[in-house]
């Protein structure tokens, strides 16, 4: 008992001297952490969390290529792997359901709503940050508040509004309502970007006789391209992710977006539905994951940028 205690007490020192050999090529205080210690306090928890975060996707992908008999028989075949991948589920999804149409709908709605929102937000953000008209600060605050209004408390009145405007059950119902989620966010994000552009550039242009419109198009926008990409990607993702408006405002199957269609049209009583359901979920997330893979940094800056202000 005492030995163990003594060993324990001596341990930190031993660890310290042991790691001093590496002290030269390490930075900061990292020499205080030896490898075994890092293994327990850093790599182990990190890999557990990563496993939990990523396992559903592995399971999704695996289910979508497993043959039906292996899906429901966990004991005969190892459930964590399959040696006979099949593209039956994906084939069925793409050629025997309206899935390609739903993908197209989602893409169309996302692109249109994002384009509208970016144009509107660029103008609004520029006006708030640089024209500094009377009450600009109040409008900026109001836009932040608008960002905090969640779709779940708006969908009921919005459904009557959409009906009044005659947009119900058309793609326009989504194209015109999604900007209410996107404009506050991207305006807020772009305001932050525009603030970082030196005011002197604009003063020079003003002296040279440029109009505000020319300044915006020729000077501010080219400098704000990273911000525009961030806003675009984030808006696109939000559109793709949106569910409650699409569920409420669209009733015809041919106008549905992927998330709604999967839940309402693809879920049937079939016990073998899991393969095509998972294939649908996987293919539905692929465009976003691919986009994300190319623009990780923009994505992170969009997330943190919107919060920093």
């Amino acid at each position: 008992m005492t030995d163990a205690l003594a060993a324990k007490a001596a341990d930190p020192k031993a660890v310290l001297t042991g790691s001093q050999r590496f002290a030269d090529d390490s930075e900061g205080m990292s020499y205080l952490n030896s490898l075994p210690r890092r293994l327990v306090t850093l790599y182990l928890p990190l890999s557990i969390i990563l496993f939990i975060l990523l396992f559903p996707f592995y399971w999704m992908a695996l289910t979508s290529i497993k043959p039906d008999n292996q899906l429901l028989d966990l004991d005969t075949y190892s459930p964590f792997w399959t040696w006979n991948p099949t593209f039956k589920h994906i084939y069925k999804l793409l050629f025997e359901t309206q899935y390609p149409i739903w993908l197209w709908n989602t893409m169309l709605v996302a692109v249109c709503a994002t384009a509208i929102s970016i144009v509107a937000s660029v103008l609004a953000a520029y006006a708030i940050v640089r024209l500094r008209y009377k009450g600009a600060q109040w409008v900026g605050g109001a836009i932040f508040l608008a960002y905090l209004v969640p779709p779940s408390i708006l969908f009921i009145p919005l459904s009557t509004v959409v009906f009044q405007y005659g947009l119900f059950d058309t793609p326009f119902a989504l194209i015109f309502t999604y900007p209410t989620i996107l404009i506050p966010f991207s305006t807020w994000l772009l305001m932050g970007y525009f603030k970082t552009i030196p005011f002197e550039l604009e003063e020079c242009a003003l002296i040279d006789g440029a109009s505000r419109w020319q300044i915006l198009v020729r000077i501010v926008l080219p400098l704000a391209v990273p911000g525009l990409i961030s806003a675009f990607i984030f808006c696109f993702t939000l559109c793709w992710n949106e569910f409650i408006y699409a569920l409420t405002f669209i009733s015809s199957t041919q106008y549905k977006t992927v998330p709604v269609a999967i839940v309402t049209a693809l879920v049937d009583g079939d016990i073998y539905r899991w393969g095509s359901l998972m294939a649908g979920a996987m293919i539905g997330s692929l465009p976003l994951v691919i986009l994300y893979a190319f623009f990780v940094e923009h994505y992170v800056s969009a997330m943190t940028g919107a919060i920093k202000e």
């Binding site: 205080m29 975060l53 144009v119 009557t160 509004v161 359901l277």
Partner: protein
């Protein structure tokens, strides 16, 4: 020739017309710049927000505009046990999920802030659950929580931890914990990555100084990391609480409020009553009842931000 020259000379000191002055007026210009955003936000956000409150005082149904009935919807909800159950569920869902999301998110952020090989890739992977549309990952969870073919039940059975399959979404409390778990899974990346951005702005020299003074890791966290991170925590948690409180997608896909309304949140209940049941007024009353909670969350965040400015000695601009 002379005439043209004369004309040109005349044209140069032209008086600015009313139109020219208007073009240079920033207030007038701002109206044009603000117009597109304002049109959308007024037509599809401000107006419906007001309309929602109005609808909650009427007996509107789908296809029939209602008449004013005062507080009748609220009185009816006051005596409705399903509504109170949904309030309880929403609060439980929000409090438990947000707390754990904060704890795990902060822990993950601290881990990711260490020196790591392949850090960029790990950070990118962590964010994937946030990228994938909620409905699609909720479907994956639905399959993971299948009563018969759940891989989780199977694994636990193989490890001899349980004897029979867990009825994840069929039992009242199991269903609640399952949807809370899915929500945490979905929300942790957001909290972790945004807090990580905050952590990266903390100067390492502060930690070095504290270590030289003999501070333990916990003290370093408590007296350096936490105070410097407070403002960003306030904002992140406001967003997290807000979006958890108004969650709809996860619940609707995984349980639709069942079993016996055990996972109905206020948002899902309002959808069921208003859109499926056709009682727009009643559904609007449930939505409107969420507003005070949201205002509370926003106020908390606001004062969190104010405190930062006061701490840093900045003026409130």
């Amino acid at each position: 020739m002379a005439e043209i020259a004369l004309n040109q000379m005349k044209a140069i000191p032209r008086e600015p017309t009313a139109w020219d002055r208007l073009k240079a007026n920033r207030n007038w210009l701002a109206i044009w710049f603000m117009l597109p955003a304002a049109v959308f936000l007024i037509l599809f956000l401000a107006y419906p927000l007001g309309l929602g409150v109005w609808l909650s005082f009427t007996d509107a149904r789908i296809g029939r505009s209602g008449i004013f009935i005062g507080l009748e919807n609220y009185e009816w909800l006051w005596g409705d046990s399903t509504f109170w159950l949904s309030v309880f569920n929403t609060l439980l869902y929000t409090i438990v999920a947000s707390t754990i999301k904060f704890a795990v998110g902060l822990y993950l952020a601290l881990l990711l802030n260490e020196r790591l090989p392949f850090k960029a890739i790990i950070r990118a992977l962590v964010l994937v659950p946030f990228i994938v549309p909620t409905v699609l990952s909720a479907i994956a969870f639905w399959w993971l929580f299948d009563p018969q073919f759940s891989i989780i039940s199977w694994s636990f059975r193989k490890m001899d931890l349980i004897n029979s399959n867990i009825n994840f979404l069929g039992d009242i409390w199991n269903a609640r914990w399952s949807v809370i778990f899915a929500n945490i899974w979905r929300g942790v990346p957001f909290v972790a990555i945004t807090l990580l951005a905050g952590l990266q702005t903390v100067s390492p020299s502060l930690y070095e100084a504290a270590t030289i003074d003999g501070a333990t890791p916990w003290q370093r966290f408590r007296h350096i990391t936490y105070p410097l991170l407070t403002p960003i925590i306030a904002v992140v948690m406001t967003f997290s609480v807000l979006f958890t409180f108004t969650d709809f997608q996860l619940i609707w896909v995984m349980t639709r409020g069942g079993p016996v309304n055990a996972t109905h949140l206020m948002a899902t209940l309002s959808y069921q009553r208003a859109i499926l049941g056709g009682q727009l007024g009643e559904g609007a009353a449930i939505s409107t009842a969420m507003i005070p909670f949201l205002l509370f969350a926003i106020l908390v965040s606001w004062f969190g931000l104010q405190r930062r400015k006061w701490q840093q000695g900045g003026d409130n601009d």
